[in-house]
């Protein structure tokens, strides 16, 4: 305080004179109390701003936001395109944007470039539309060009080849960019590589992409009925509407003939079937520790990721954003930032995101840290995710997050494009009409309990992928204790696993030996191919204990691929699954339901009496990973990759050829995975083929199944498999 008074003294006189000149009431020059933060004035009202919307006759929606602050007008054309699989030509969609402005029947790329630059304009394409802006005086010409490009881009082959070569160069460059690697592999591990968001562009996949893929994609998806035109800026609503009608009013879109494939997908000539996102991606069974080696890295890039089922119109979407703001969503006071940067000095910045998405949302938390604190940083990130899930957030944390979000909302409105974005989001995400009008009110109402509930539903620190991109030699070992399996899995820069199990002590299989050789030896060991193929149907009855009560499990297989399973306790059927070769049905005390997605896939894995003969038909790939010892027996370890990216490990006795163990991840009730290990023993023959008579299962429900009956070719009626 002393210091303050002294300071005041030296400047008191000038301050007084200054105030007098301004005729400010004397009360306002009283010495300010510096020891406390000043109180805020009355809160200003936040005005959302107006927009006008209309629908053209061709179905295209138009959104206009008038704002004359700066003499700039922008136009966005957007098509509502769902994520679709790119498969073996992954990467072609990334070329759409660049090629949209690479030629029309009227203008070459060079001419378009000259036009755009000559108007001082921007014209940028993406795989779902274009964005253009310019001074108001040049805007009519920009609209002219924008329409021309949307309606008649012709994707010249020469430009395609150039763009493809550059894209392939960029894929090469990615190999040394840790942030890009973390991004690409992070997405692959979040969604799986069979989900559109998880597909990875490689030089090989780009190499297969053709100009027609890109062109037909554009023709098929750039259609007025799923199109939006958003005009913002120094333009009146009337001018905007007139422009929209003039250019897009009579636009019809390309006529693209389609046929249907067996699954009912549209098939577009020269592009192939349009395959939308399939089943929702699943989280790993436990903490999956994934490592991409980048030798000599100065830092480790850490990402904790998992998919989240959260759509933008989910009632919990706003609570989720509050939760993420407290955890690590861009606020300096967020827990990750305070812990990892301000307390520990591990990183320049630590952040999290919890993104809602119409198809599949995602969680991500991470940072870049020096090598020697990598394991500590992972531990702290996991701790923060766990803590916010287990304990209620503090009152002042919640208040700060809500104030910050309200402030961000107001700040965003400074840009007139925000109002337009709100209108567009409302349509695209099927939000309530007043979603944004009620935003501040709804935000204000979020409680500690709401945040806790969101955390419990959406955060899963026990079932996630921890990805680290860095120097393996220096860092990887320290991460083992943090892995659910105790192991660190190596991935390459394309998100493919390098070795499944580097630390389990596997030794290489004999030179030249393949998974198929092991499978052949197994079939031979149980009776030979002829004997096995003579098995038309099998019924297996096992007794076991379920929660201390005796139970019976009966399995039926019938060629080619019918399957049924029934679990009984006394007279009561606990569960029955029927699969008729196409459809699956689950009956339980809860009722009946048709099996879909992951559940159906699991049943499919049992549909053949001897699946080892049918991996190719099930589109499963078997690989021999080496020789390892389990329970004192030397075994060949074979990894079977399923269609959805799941992995099953099988262990075959090196000496006898018999299968001793199967290890797989099974879906759990309510999401998540659990590792289930089944040991096979007491092999004895039935109908000329050896069957294991004791199955010991661990993980999930621990139980021992003892076969009381295995009968072969007794004629099981089809009705046993009916799904009607």
């Amino acid at each position: 305080m002393n210091r303050q008074r002294k300071t005041m003294k030296s400047t008191l006189l000038p301050t007084l004179t200054l105030a007098a000149t301004l005729l400010i009431p004397a009360s306002m020059i009283a010495q300010v109390d510096r020891t406390k933060a000043p109180l805020p004035g009355p809160a200003p009202e936040v005005h959302l701003g107006e927009h006008k919307s209309l629908t053209l006759e061709n179905g295209m929606r138009v959104i206009i936001v008038e704002n004359h602050k700066i003499p700039i007008v922008s136009a966005q054309v957007k098509f509502d395109i769902p994520p679709i699989l790119q498969g073996d030509v992954t990467g072609y969609q990334d070329l759409v944007g660049e090629l949209l402005t690479s030629g029309t029947p009227r203008h070459t790329k060079e001419q378009i470039d000259e036009l755009v630059d000559g108007l001082g304009a921007r014209l940028n394409g993406s795989n779902d539309g274009l964005y253009a802006s310019s001074l108001k005086k040049n805007f009519p010409q920009v609209m002219d060009l924008l329409y021309e490009v949307v309606a008649s881009a012709n994707f010249p082959s020469e430009e395609f080849e150039k763009a493809k070569t550059r894209a392939m160069s960029q894929v090469q460059a990615r190999a040394d960019d840790p942030d890009q690697i973390a991004d690409v592999v992070g997405r692959a591990l979040t969604y799986g590589k069979n989900y559109p968001y998880g597909e990875v562009t490689t030089e090989a996949s780009l190499g297969k992409a053709s100009r027609d893929d890109v062109y037909q994609y554009y023709r098929y998806f750039f259609q007025p009925k799923q199109g939006y035109l958003v005009l913002v800026g120094d333009i009146t609503a009337a001018e905007g509407e007139a422009m929209a009608r003039k250019y897009f009013g009579t636009w019809k879109g390309a006529e693209v003939p389609v046929t249907k494939d067996e699954q009912g997908h549209d098939v577009v000539k020269d592009l192939g079937p349009i395959i939308p996102a399939g089943k929702d991606p699943r989280r790993p069974a436990d903490v999956r520790m994934a490592f991409v080696d980048r030798p000599g890295s100065a830092q480790s890039v850490i990402k904790v990721v998992f998919p989240v089922q959260l759509k933008p119109n989910d009632p919990m979407a706003l609570q989720a954003q509050v939760l993420n703001t407290i955890l690590g969503g861009g606020v300096f006071n967020a827990r990750l930032m305070q812990n990892l940067r301000e307390d520990k000095g591990y990183t320049y910045g630590a952040y999290s995101s919890l993104d809602a998405d119409r198809w599949c949302g995602s969680f991500s938390a991470g940072c870049s840290v020096r090598n020697d604190v990598t394991d500590s940083a992972v531990t702290q990130i996991m701790k923060e995710i766990t803590d916010i899930r287990n304990a209620p957030v503090k009152t002042d944390e919640l208040a700060l997050a809500k104030s910050y979000m309200a402030g961000s909302f107001a700040r965003a409105l400074e840009d007139p494009r925000t109002v337009a974005r709100f209108a567009l989001n409302t349509y695209l995400n099927d939000l309530p009409e007043d979603h944004y009008e009620t935003y501040l009110k709804r935000l204000d109402a979020v409680t500690i309990t709401d945040v806790k509930q969101a955390a419990e539903r959406l955060l899963h620190p026990d079932s996630c992928t921890v990805l680290v991109v860095g120097d393996k030699e220096q860092v990887a070992k320290s991460l083992e204790p943090l892995s659910g399996s105790g192991r660190v899995l190596d991935y390459d820069i394309n998100g493919d696993i390098v070795r499944l199990d580097p630390t389990e002590g596997a030794t290489p299989a004999p030179e030249g030996m393949k998974a198929q050789d092991v499978l052949d030896a197994y079939i031979k060991a149980i009776g030979g191919k002829d004997a096995v193929e003579k098995v038309r149907d099998v019924k297996k009855v096992y007794t076991t204990n379920v929660q201390g009560m005796p139970a019976t499990l009966t399995e039926y297989n019938k060629a080619p691929n019918k399957y049924a399973m029934e679990m009984r306790m006394g007279e009561m059927v606990l569960q029955r699954i029927n699969y008729d070769g196409q459809k699956g049905k689950l009956t339980s005390i809860m009722g009946e339901k048709e099996l879909e997605d992951q559940e159906l896939e699991e049943v499919l894995g049992n549909a053949y009496a001897f699946p080892e003969l049918h991996y190719p038909e099930m589109e499963q790939v078997a690989r021999l990973l080496g020789v390892i010892t389990i329970d004192g027996q030397k075994t060949y370890r074979v990894s079977v990759e399923t269609l959805s990216g799941g992995k099953i490990d099988e262990y075959y006795d090196v000496e006898t050829g018999l299968k001793l163990r199967r290890r797989e991840n099974q879906m759990q009730e309510g999401g998540g995975w659990i590792q289930v290990i089944t040991d096979y023993s007491a092999y004895s023959p039935e109908g000329g083929v050896l069957f294991p008579h004791t199955l010991t299962q661990r993980g999930g429900m621990d139980m021992v199944l003892t076969a009381t009956e295995i009968s072969v070719n007794k004629g099981i009626p089809d009705s046993e498999f009916s799904t009607e």
Binding site: L22, M28, K109, M168, S169, A298, G345, S408, A410
Partner: protein, 439 residues
Amino acid sequence: MRNIITLTACTMASITAVAQTREIKFSEFDLPNGLHVILHEDHTTPIVAVGVMYHVGSKDEARDRRGFAHFFEHLLFEGSDNIDRGEFAKYVEKAGGVLNANTTGDRTYYYEVLPSNQLDLGLWLESERMMHAKVEKKGIETQREVVKEERRQRYENQPYGSILPEVLKRAYTEHPYQWPTIGYMEDLNAASEKDFKKFYKTFYVPNNAVLVLAGDFNSEKATADLTKYFGPIPKGGTIPRNKVVEPPMKGEIRDTVYDKIQLPAVVQAYRIPALGTPDFYAVDMLNRLMSNGNSSRLVKNVKDAEQKAVFVGSFSLPFEDPGLAIAFAVANMGVPPDSLEASMDRQFELVRNEPIAPAELEKLKVQIETEHAMENGRMSGIANNLANAYTFLGGADKVNTEVQQYLAVTAEDLQRVARQYFVPANRVVLYYLPMNQKK
């Protein structure tokens, strides 16, 4: 005193003027302690940007404390006599605002964007920072690690991330621009509390700063308030200025850097005049001619027609003392760096040999005009531009008039600066090559 009267008149007059010209209207004055104040009132959105620019950057550092100015910027979030460690950002975010800061070779800029009813909070925080910032040992040691991580993240662990440090250390021999703002690890480790005290007392004084408010406030009331908060801060001494003049280059410098990269890159750094000089505008226009838009010379020819590059760009470093123009290209796959460099050189040679056509000059002017219109869309941007114009361009009014200096550039000017500055003898050329090509 005269300033204050003009200010009142200005504020009243500006209300009608805004809509017609869309100029950035502002008023400005000095407090008796030397703090320059610029006010821009705009009531469109209920927010206010509070910015303070200190005229101090890495070029003011001692030669064995490289990176100190930026390190110090981090420490000035640690608190003050009245603000405890960690509370600074909390006040802002609790009020619904955002805050940040950045440092260059020439200046350090701190800002908050707040809801308009929280203007006083911003004034209090910034005046506390200027008046009696406080740094504890825990803060120093933590931020030292944070800054080192920033260095690793931005420079060491990024492909091509070392370009700026590698260019600067060859382009300057005398001037402190020879080191990057982020500094070097050994100097960051050496920085001590004594250094902080001295730096603060010398440079963080009102007569070395400009305070800008932009947004939804009443100028008269804001003037009274800011005077309460900043008025009592004592004026500092004369600011020591580093007057090192970098001698002209003695010919081209060429070198190779091996990096963790796949695609080779070529960097050409030409020495250019200081920010705000007439030739600077011509040089900056020339850079736009080379790489602004797909029809620009380098993009159209080197990247598109000849397919030598996946990326090519050229830009000027807007330094207070003579700076650099950097042309940078990443090779397309299979293209050797000398072939890429030859293509780049050809484009600069063309500008030296032939005056550009009137239509192409016209294009550059439309681009400048559009950019100028767009850059004043947000309060935070306006505040920064006003502070920058005041500190480096000779006056805050340059936010409105600087565009004229660009528009005045002629085809002859472009050719002249191309011949004067964009010549091999005036440059550093670096080849970036993949580590595995190191012999």
